[in-house]
């Protein structure tokens, strides 16, 4: 059974008085197997963020369903949704979403504290993880005192510390310089090699080229997908570029 199944997903935004309808997702279908590293690409307005929000149970679909480990997100009660998100999904955002009020360490602890874990358990979990992510030295600093790359690694650490079934990353390299981007992408790969499932939404061809599979979304549906197979990064990069060119130029003609 696939870890994540998305079936006939639809999302229509309606303006407050029901005047305008905007179809963000028309019919999205795909599955993600455990241990996969999938990236989703598409132009602005193609529905990527909507998709991610629905996957994260932050938004509700108009039609279709999302199954995580066979469990339908629509069946999770409103009261439990936060806990569900906390236990099953790890988030990495473009703008890090770290809280200035907490130290790096406390930012990472946040989901565990919310889950009511003991301090000892939190300590036990953070040590190996922080070492792996190279943030042990900055644990006692505050977000405004560290670099963008370090912030994003903190965010990754916060996403991983709950041992989630899947990591959802929304443009994780969007606010990073090229060096930090490389570091983060390598990090994602390493995590993925350890068995962590990752689903990443991105604009960046470079970021996408690190994934094992790339889905292309256009006009609210999955338009195309390519597998990396045994391709090198460069070959993958080329393939993605070509597909994007086709999507924006040839795609129109076909559609």
């Amino acid at each position: 059974m696939a870890l994540l199944e998305v079936r006939n997903l639809k999302k229509v935004y309606t303006s407050r008085f029901g005047g305008n309808h905007v179809q963000a997702l028309s019919d999205v279908n795909f599955t993600v197997e455990a241990g996969e590293y999938v990236s989703i690409m598409g132009e602005s307005g193609s529905g990527k963020t909507t998709l991610l929000n629905i996957l994260a149970a932050l938004d509700k679909p108009t039609g279709g369903e999302v199954l995580l480990s066979g469990m339908n997100l629509a069946n999770v009660k409103d009261m439990d949704i936060a806990a569900f998100r906390r236990d099953n999904i790890g988030f990495v955002f473009q703008d890090f979403n770290l809280l200035d009020t907490f130290s790096i360490k406390d930012n990472i602890f946040l989901p565990l504290v919310l889950a009511g874990k003991s301090y000892k358990e939190m300590e036990d979990r953070i040590k190996p993880l922080a070492a792996k992510l190279g943030i042990t030295d900055i644990l006692n600093k505050y977000p405004y005192e560290v670099s963008g790359g370090q912030k994003q690694r903190t965010a990754v650490c916060r996403a991983l510390i709950t041992n989630p079934q899947i990591i959802l990353a929304d443009e994780p390299t969007g606010s990073l310089d090229s060096k930090a981007t490389d570091q983060l992408l390598n990090l994602f790969e390493r995590i993925n090699e350890d068995g962590q499932t990752i689903l990443m939404v991105t604009h960046s061809v470079k970021a996408a080229s690190h994934a094992k599979r790339v889905l292309f979304i256009k006009d609210g549906t999955v338009y195309h997908q390519i597998y990396r197979g045994n391709c090198s990064f460069d070959e993958m990069y080329q393939k993605i570029s070509d597909t994007l060119t086709l999507l924006t130029t040839g795609g129109d003609r076909n559609a």
Binding site: A56, L58, M79, I81, A82, A83, R85, R86, D87, F91, F93, N97, L98, L99, D100, T101, F102, D106, F109, L110, P111, V113, L114, A115, G116, Y119, M122, Y142, P143, Y144, R158, T162
Partner: protein, 668 residues
């Protein structure tokens, strides 16, 4: 640019920022109304003709002064807060191509609207409420003259002038701000990462010391007269201490809490403690302001309330009877003093007015001040020691028996002694340059009848009963030789109670005064309690009125500060709670953590204010004793009552703001 653009833009701005501007304009309206009413009462010709009007006038001038100061400070403060909130908006105008001159024009129009709405609204409210407030005031003052509806042109003029000037100043402040900064700075000013506050040990220490000092003074001041002089020092220390406490001590405490892992890493504490710590720097001053304003409200209202409710006691103390006749007689001429004739005159007067005498008391006393020495009292014109003064007061055993009904048989050198302090010495020694007197204390008394109006002298007083006129005469001569022309006279007091009504009592008192010519008196005074009652109610009622009036004004300020604080924090916190929700914070948990956080922030100032008041209580009793308010239970009730009433209002504001805050934070 189009001609009507600026006025309409300005109008739109006010409406769009309604959440901030509405309370601001309401504040202007309330302050204007308050100012108008106070001024209108002060300038009312009808009031001027009443008994005790001079007190009302004085009170109103004070009120006037305080409101003006308050209005300036408070409106400037609120305005600067408002403008900080609007940085982004103004920067955007600038970036979109408006010159600073154009923005300035918009701001001018905004100020104009605020002034127009605020001042007109305030005057309207003021004129409408004026009558009501006057009625309330007259009820307090026990005046019973009904007034027609009136509008005071003088008050309108001064209100318009004052508030135009204040709003003008805020405009200048805003324009200066616009000139100084550049748009990018304005645009990003909200995002500047705020550094965690450092623990300020020194400041915490200063806070503890000043606060401790203030409390120490409040607790240890024993004499009422000293209380006056040190009260303001104590208040000042406590104010400084409060600011330090909130800025430094709070941070130290929060950091300690954070260090305790078992407490800190719990969901509700985790968010709350970190949030409070983060914003303590900007919060501290606001909280201290709230705390000090609350304390002022509490002290002012409870103090004036106790004063007003104690007026009856005060009157009884100062006027032991309905008609009190006081005569000062030179000791040399005591033999010429026709006591019986005066007594007859008083009794006759009452009877001529068809009154029946219910009580008649008369006695003679001698009182003078003395310096405290080592185990004795020294009387001298020049102050020799710096040990403080006491007042000594003597009456004969005959008068004492008349007043108390208790027979005493004293020897020549024996006395009965009563003092407020528990000085249980066995004898009373009085030293002057050429004399030395020594009396054995036969008995220390637990109470003493009210003699003269000595309690209003604000000095520690000792009352002594001596054998007879001869002893009194010796005492008189000794003090005469020491004080010379400043020496005291014998005081003769006659107290009458009748069954006459107040008007007749006043009439009797006037008639008795005519007996002034019957002898050679240094002082001849006839007082009626009825007249004193009008005077004291006018004064104490004025105090209470002022206390409540200013109390309301300060409560309004407190509410506004709290409201603005919560709202602006709500906008700051919105982003944080969004992040937390994404990380897995349930909505219910948000509500709870907000609840505790606001609760602490809200009720910390109230709790500290209550502690301030508790420490203030003792010194307040001392100050009230100057007004002959000695019913401590009543004062206690007034204080507790005021505190409870205030807490209720405060709680309502809390509920309201907590809701607004939650709405902002959880809005999508």
């Amino acid at each position: 640019m189009r001609k009507g653009l600026f006025p309409s833009l300005a109008w739109q701005n006010l409406r769009k920022n309604g959440k901030f501007y509405l309370p601001y304009i309401l504040t202007v309206i309330c302050t204007v109304a308050g100012f108008y009413i106070i001024n209108a009462i002060a300038s009312d010709k009808g009031v001027a003709e009443l008994r005790g009007a001079s007190y009302v006038y004085t009170m109103m001038s004070w009120g006037n002064f305080i409101i003006s100061i308050f209005a300036v400070i408070f409106l400037l403060y609120t305005n600067s807060f408002l403008m900080k909130r609007r940085n982004k908006e103004l920067a955007l105008y600038n970036i979109l191509g408006m010159g600073k001159r154009h923005i300035a024009r918009i701001l001018c129009f905004e100020a104009l609207y605020v002034a127009l709405i605020g001042i007109t609204g305030g005057l309207l409210c003021g004129i409408l409420l004026h009558k009501l407030v006057t009625l309330a005031l007259f009820k307090l003052l026990r005046f019973d003259v009904p007034f027609g509806f009136s509008v005071s042109a003088v008050a309108i003029k001064s209100s318009v002038t004052l508030f135009s000037v204040i709003i003008g100043i805020t405009l200048v402040q805003n324009l200066y701000r616009i000139r100084k900064v550049n748009p990018i700075e304005l645009l990003n000013s909200a995002n500047a990462g705020e550094r965690e506050p450092k623990s300020k040990r020194l400041l915490a220490l200063i806070g503890v010391l000043t606060l401790g000092g203030g409390y120490y003074i409040a607790l240890t001041t024993e004499s009422a007269i000293k209380a006056i002089s040190v009260y303001f020092l104590a208040v000042l220390l406590v104010i400084v201490g409060t600011y330090c406490l909130f800025t430094a001590v709070s941070i130290v405490v929060l950091k300690l809490l954070r260090k305790n892992k078992r407490i800190y890493y719990k969901t509700k504490h985790f968010i709350g403690i970190s949030g409070m710590l983060y914003r303590m720097k900007q919060n501290a001053v606001g909280l201290a302001n709230i705390c000090i304003l609350s304390t002022m409200v509490l002290v002012m209202v409870s103090g004036t309330l106790a004063l007003y409710l104690g007026t009856e006691d005060e009157l009884k103390h100062l006027y032991p009877g309905q008609i009190v006749t006081e005569v000062s007689i030179d000791g040399e001429k005591l033999n010429d003093f026709k006591k019986d004739m005066l007594t007859e005159k008083i009794k006759d007067t009452v009877q001529k007015n068809r009154g029946e005498i219910k009580k008649f008391e008369e006695y003679t006393y001698l009182t003078f001040s003395a310096e405290k020495g080592e185990g004795y009292y020294y009387i001298n014109n020049e102050r020799k020691f710096n040990t403080g003064y006491v007042q000594l007061c003597f009456i004969t055993e005959k008068d004492y028996s008349k007043l108390t009904g208790r027979e005493v048989k004293l020897k020549e050198d024996e006395i009965l002694l009563y003092g407020i302090t528990t000085d249980q010495s066995e004898n009373l020694r009085i030293e002057a340059e050429n004399y030395s007197l020594k009396y054995t204390v036969a008995e220390h008394l637990d109470s003493f009848p009210a003699i003269g109006d000595l309690t209003t002298y604000m000095i520690n007083t000792f009352f002594a009963v001596v054998k007879d006129e001869q002893v009194m005469d010796v005492l008189y001569k000794v003090q005469k030789s020491a004080f010379k022309e400043y020496a005291s006279d014998f005081e003769w007091v006659a107290v009458v109670d009748t069954d006459l009504n107040e008007e007749m009592q006043i009439k009797c008192a006037k008639e008795i005064s005519s007996a002034r010519d019957t002898g050679d008196y240094n002082r001849f005074q006839v007082m009626s309690r009825a007249e004193g009652s009008a005077r004291f109610y006018a004064m104490n009622g004025g105090f209470l009125f002022l206390g409540i009036f200013l109390g309301l004004l300060f409560i309004m300020a407190t509410v506004l500060i709290i409201y603005y604080k919560q709202i602006s924090e709500g906008y700051d916190d919105k982003g944080r709670f969004e992040i937390m929700q994404k990380v897995g914070l349930p909505k219910k948990e948000i509500k709870r953590s907000i609840g505790t956080q606001i609760l602490v922030i809200f009720f910390a100032p109230l709790a500290v204010a209550a502690i301030h008041v508790a420490f203030d209580f003792k010194i307040m009793l001392k100050l009230l004793s100057l007004f002959s308010i000695t019913n401590n239970r009543l004062t206690m009730l007034c204080t507790v009552g005021t505190l409870l009433g205030f807490a209720v209002v405060y709680g309502m504001v809390y509920a309201l703001t907590a809701r607004t805050y939650y709405k902002i934070v959880s809005a999508n």
